[in-house]
């Protein structure tokens, strides 16, 4: 039993050490690429931008629109009791812009990109491509992670804009049909209560989520066992780790923003 615990502690320590090392390498390579942008792998970045961004637009629009509708419906059921249906616009607006927009987009990105990153890097590990990179003196982090990170840093905030707009429209749809509120009144109310800062802080959140999803996906890929099952496990672990990091990050960011009154 003692051996098991000692083994576990040792493994955890080693894994944590490797994770910190990976984070350090990521920071270093990001700085290197920013300094020497000609070395940056633009084409890879565009590929991941298409994969995680452009190809996710439709699913983001659909899910966020439905999320806005669900939110509005749930809020309307409660607020009708008090005759405060117009406040549905407040609830939907704040929830979508400050929380659910960035969160839902990050979840979709986790499903699409996080697991794909882990599987891709895991498969490269199986095929010894990572080893090949290392022996060529090319940093795998710079070659594989940095383009993904920049692509996600661009794609997620842009997707969040789409998600926010779709969510607000979902709420508007329910407000104007289910609640019989005038479209103009609902829209004016939404625009009155929301501020550009709400939108900007949501985008800041989505940038942080982009870093977390990329980090979790790539880290689990590098940690993948060099076999088919190992790659599958790493993809699953990447999704779980991403969701955990996103939720924890969201809580910390919300607390941080709340300290400044937002």
């Amino acid at each position: 039993m003692e051996d098991l615990v000692a083994n576990w502690a040792q493994n955890t320590h080693k894994r944590f050490h490797r994770m910190v090392e990976f984070l350090g390498a990521l920071c270093r390579e990001v700085v290197c690429d920013l300094r020497n942008w000609r070395r940056f792998r633009w084409r890879d970045m565009l590929y991941y931008l298409a994969l995680c961004g452009q190809k996710s637009v439709s699913i983001v629009l659909l899910i966020c629109f439905l999320m806005g509708m669900v939110l509005a419906l749930q809020a309307a059921l409660q607020m009708r009791k008090f005759g405060t249906e117009l406040f549905v616009a407040d609830l939907v607006g704040f929830s979508i812009l400050k929380e659910l927009g960035p969160l839902m987009v990050a979840m979709i990105a986790t499903g699409r990109a996080g697991s794909a990153f882990a599987a891709e890097i895991g498969t490269m590990k199986v095929n010894e491509e990572i080893a090949a990179l290392t022996t060529m003196g090319v940093s795998p982090v710079r070659f594989l992670v940095v383009p993904k990170l920049f692509a996600m840093l661009i794609a997620l905030p842009l997707l969040t804009v789409f998600g926010d707009a779709a969510g607000l429209l979902g709420g508007l749809f329910i407000g104007s049909t289910w609640l019989d509120l005038p479209v103009q009144a609902y829209w004016s109310r939404t625009m009155d209560v929301l501020s550009p800062m709400n939108l900007v802080l949501g985008l800041v959140k989505s940038c942080v989520f982009a870093v977390l999803v990329t980090f979790a996906g790539c880290w689990r890929g590098f940690e993948s066992e060099p076999d088919a099952q190992g790659v599958g496990r790493s993809a699953t672990d990447a999704v779980v780790m991403s969701i955990l990091l996103i939720v924890v990050g969201d809580m910390l960011l919300t607390m941080f923003f709340a300290m400044f009154g937002y």
Binding site: D44, Y47, E128, E129, A131, A132, T135, M136, G137, V138
Partner: protein
């Protein structure tokens, strides 16, 4: 005997706390084709990965070109890596890049050549491995043997002094395998490169190997060292003789 390119001294390798091989002592001379042989799972590839600096040994030292790759700082390690090339079992080509781009990658990293110059070099290297005209193919469009040859072209891109080949004939038919053996010999003749081959294919070992070390999984160390034919005929280790003579009878 010429100066050793690789010196392995009292090396112990393994994963975590599990020892795979120990007390390894051998050296590789410049310009020779050196074979690391042994049964499946005995740790041949693991030894090679230690030699190219991917893994850190549990004990002992590995010196490449007179410098320790074990204790070298990152910068020195990178400099050392620039002097050798590695080909992997499956070719290890990057699936997101064309064959030519794969070959150009080390050039882009280490040279100041323009993109067109890099492409010219890549085409020449591909021609060297009999893959002229395949530059724009994606790796997925190539056969296993072609991928290995493309991997070799990439490993040779920087004209290394030392080439490591991990199981070059694994998974290939005998004709393709023999073709790769001929290619390795041609490389050595054309550029005088020192070649370390990890293989369990006796045909290859007898065709290209000048110096062989035999690793035994049970003994966890080198059980025989010398020329392949010599070992087959006069090794004191009966397992080595049987291992080499099973297919070696043909030779």
């Amino acid at each position: 005997m010429s100066e050793p390119v690789i010196e392995v001294r009292d090396l112990t390798i393994g994963y975590d706390n599990r020892v795979i091989m120990q007390h390894l002592d051998f050296s590789v001379s410049r310009g020779e084709v050196f074979c690391i042989m042994g049964g499946s799972g005995c740790g041949k590839s693991t030894l090679m990965k230690h030699m190219i600096g991917l893994f850190r040994p549990m004990a002992g030292d590995i010196r490449l070109f007179g410098e320790s790759i074990v204790s070298a700082p990152e910068e020195d390690k990178r400099r050392l890596m620039k002097r050798f090339g590695v080909t992997y079992q499956g070719g290890a080509l990057f699936g997101s890049m064309t064959v030519a781009e794969n070959v150009m990658l080390p050039l882009a990293e280490y040279t100041d050549l323009t993109e067109s110059e890099q492409r010219e070099v890549a085409e020449a290297k591909l021609k060297q491995v009999d893959l002229a005209g395949y530059g724009d193919y994606m790796p997925a469009e190539l056969s296993g043997g072609m991928r290995k040859r493309a991997g070799m072209a990439r490993a040779l891109a920087l004209d290394p002094e030392l080439l490591f080949c991990d199981e070059p004939s694994a998974g290939l038919d005998p004709i393709t395998s023999a073709g790769l053996d001929r290619l390795i010999l041609r490389m050595r003749e054309e550029s005088g490169v020192t070649i370390v081959v990890v293989t369990h294919d006796l045909d290859s070992a007898f065709t290209i190997g000048e110096h062989v070390i035999m690793l035994d999984k049970e003994a966890k160390t080198i059980v025989a060292e010398g020329a392949p034919a010599e070992l087959r005929d006069s090794s004191s280790n009966i397992w080595v003789r049987e291992f080499l003579s099973r297919d070696g009878l043909k030779h």
